[in-house]
Symmetry: C2
Subunit: 473 residues, 2 copies
């Protein structure tokens, strides 16, 4: 890969005395075998691999604090890692040093039914957390495609979205308070366990989405809401992908707020079907794209009315026969299909995924832009994503393209796409974060004044630049 390290800092290389210090309190949770270092040297981003010197697995906030105090004194680099399901390389230890895995922070500390809140450690799998609160009728909505394996702490660090965000909002709308270890080892809470807060600067929202560059999250207080009791799901085939994109804003304009509104181009669905056992979905020759539309709530009749309104809107957009999921099994299959698109694309070819987001009415223009630039530069793309939020994942397929094109010319094509995205009022990442791989494009989204503000904030939290250096900017 061609992303070079940008750091000009001189970091301390980890030596035997450092290892001996870490082992003194972490024991066998300080690991430096080549197998383990290899394992923690990659995430789900493309084919990237960076070896850390050592992997540490603390179990308590005091251990994290002790590690950071030591590393701050010695100028040792620390890169926090969750479940390493990220798609922007945020947890890759590009400057070597310590990979700090939060996997032992795997306890849900308190489900507070009285206040509709949950206090959790960051290493809990998002779906595990969702299921636990659902048992008492409560709902934690943000559900990235990787919800069965990603950690809630990673979701907070990347401000993750997922299909439900269109109705319920992304991660940051649920985070009330965070316990954080600062780079110098100090432990703070960022706010209070309350639904409204006008007390000082919003450190909580500054930490959410900061991609592990400002502090290490050790506890999370989340807001919960009542879990909807009913949902309806339909898959709508369109003969024209542009029309599918146009239908998105039209549905909202009719006053409906779906709980899911996903777009999948023809190839996305075709490639994914073999990955879902017993799928009965038929993609006809003239199907150019599909919308997967879900409504949820507490009253089945209202949901039926919502569906009828949606069907009325769709009449103007030339669709083939709409498939209504009739059983829970069918719903599960459709959602599995949607969730596995990323995996399917990955197994098809080396690829790059861009995570563009625009105001939703601009979606047709965005799709048109991507295809036009693809044609001009000669690359194939498969687009899918959270259309209701205007969030389109653009998967660029390597296929037979040369490494030379892939590493150089393509970058210019992506710059062109991003420039148009920003001109539409959008930005370059909706939910995957900037991490390592989107860093070269940050100057398209932000000018030097904005970037200098961000860098200066980083410097306030981490003056020695030891925490996840070389990410975001």
């Amino acid at each position: 890969m061609n992303i070079s390290s940008s750091a000009s800092e001189s970091y301390k290389t980890i030596d035997a005395s450092d290892l001996s210090f870490f082992r003194s309190f972490l024991q066998d949770r300080c690991l430096d075998s080549i197998e383990i270092r290899t394992e923690y040297g990659h995430d789900e981003t493309e084919d990237l691999q960076f070896l850390p010197d050592v992997v540490l697995k603390p179990v308590s906030v005091d251990e994290v604090s002790k590690i950071m105090r030591y590393c701050s004194e010695k100028s040792i680099v620390v890169t926090p890692a969750g479940a390493r399901t990220g798609l922007s390389g945020g947890c890759l230890p590009i400057e070597k040093g310590i990979a700090l895995s939060m996997e032992k922070f795997n306890q849900i500390l308190k489900i507070d039914e009285n206040n509709h809140q949950v206090i959790t450690e960051p290493g809990v799998i998002t779906e595990v957390l969702q299921n636990a609160v659902r048992e008492v009728g409560l709902f934690y909505p943000p559900d990235p495609a990787s919800k069965g394996s990603c950690f809630i702490g990673g979701n907070v660090s990347e401000n993750s979205g997922g299909p439900k965000a269109v109705k319920y909002g992304v991660t940051n709308e649920y985070v009330l308070n965070l316990e954080v270890v600062l780079p110098n080892g100090e432990i703070i809470w960022t706010g209070a366990n309350v639904l409204k807060n006008a007390t000082g600067y919003n450190l909580t929202q500054l930490l959410v989405g900061s991609e592990g560059t400002l502090g290490i999250i050790t506890k999370i207080v989340l807001k919960l809401i009542p879990h909807p009791t009913h949902d309806l799901l339909m898959l709508v085939p369109f003969y024209d992908a542009q029309k599918a994109c146009e239908a998105v804003a039209a549905i909202f304009k009719a006053g409906i707020t779906p709980s899911g509104l996903e777009f999948m181009e023809r190839d996305a669905l075709l490639w994914t079907i073999p990955h879902v056992p017993n799928s009965s979905i038929e993609v006809k020759e003239n199907h150019a794209a599909h919308l997967l539309i879900e409504v949820d709530g507490f009253d089945p009749e209202i949901l039926m009315q919502d569906c009828e309104k949606i069907l009325a809107v769709l009449e103007s957009f030339e669709t083939d026969e709409v498939l209504f999921a009739e059983t829970q099994a069918q719903k599960d299959q459709l959602w599995t299909l949607r969730r596995k698109v990323g995996e399917a694309v990955k197994s098809f070819s080396i690829y790059k995924e861009e995570d563009t987001v625009v105001p939703r009415y601009e979606l047709p223009r965005l799709l048109e832009t991507v295809k036009r630039i693809g044609k001009q530069y000669g690359f194939q793309s498969v687009c899918y994503g959270h259309a209701g939020d205007g969030n389109l994942h653009i998967n660029i397929i390597k296929g037979d393209l040369s490494d030379e094109f892939w590493n150089n010319e393509l970058t210019i094509a992506i710059q062109e796409i991003f420039t148009d995205v920003v001109a539409m009022g959008g930005t370059i990442s909706g939910e995957h974060g900037i991490g390592l791989v989107q860093k070269p494009y940050m100057s398209i989204a932000f000018n030097s004044v904005q970037l200098d503000l961000m860098r200066s904030i980083k410097n306030v939290f981490d003056p020695k630049n030891i925490l996840n250096p070389g990410k975001i900017f």
Copy 2:
């Protein structure tokens, strides 16, 4: 008043050459008569008054930028002001210098029906904005009691709440993007016009609630939602104020999310009734408190069902007969009653208002704490507020209390209340901000590590400390 200026900076006093510079492009929007300076020297906070040297009323972002560039070079203090309806003294020019009124920024720039967004200038009255977007079926929910006079820019600066926040969230959940003039005169946008954003640090959320200390907001992009078509409103008298507080969390636990859930102590209602013409509300001798409960949505039958569920919950809490508002006029009257409590208290006596917020299940404990400490120190309090959010406004009545008590001993009593609030997981301001008058209590909510982070962030944006100095910390 006894709040002394904390600034040790040496600011430049405004002289004839400065006035001449400002007049060169602001003409008669540069005002230094004693009448105007007096007018801009106070807001709605207690009886505070600070004279600025001059009042400037720019009309464009370029004028604001020009003013800030000049003031930054000369070290002249600038205090931005909106409609001056604040309750924490955030816009008071305590260091003299310039009062920068944003009242000429009074245009709604674009109501974007296609994307459910509005782009507005900060000097638009919140209710004017709400009414404008409602005309196209859209809803901007945050509605502070002062919505008929406050500016949307002030709401963003204070992260305002209001009764609807319990279902729809406070201001920060609607702010997508901000145009801001930095203290050095640079103009930036903080984010993008999108519903989800994982691109760099969240400067937007850092600016929201920063009380005019980090930058001057010149444009605001807000998310809108479909406006509910129906609502139902009921006023519930309780024989015991504690029970009224207990009923709040019980309603949510039953799976209902009201669109308003307001608590009013006996005196709050009694004192306010004379301020509402033709009020037909009867407060009986044995009524200790009332809850005002609203549900809203798109289906009247569902709302009736919600009300029935609420009534079923209330059966356990010993209430008198529930008053259902039968007409729009009756609904308006009940809401006017609630909105005028602050004004009524103000006309009754000199008072101090504390804006405590706790997790909602702790509300009974909070009320008990306030009354116990009041008894111990010998002060009368009237409590009311947004009970559904756990946000209780504590109005401490001066009445016959000595100035000596008011200015000294009472501070200790308030510290005791706030200490208990923080121990409950709450904090010292839910929606009014810290501004000037809550500043002495910040160390109860935050320790020196947290406060140092905030101060350092302030220093990043405003190294000369010329923008609204002496506020928050």
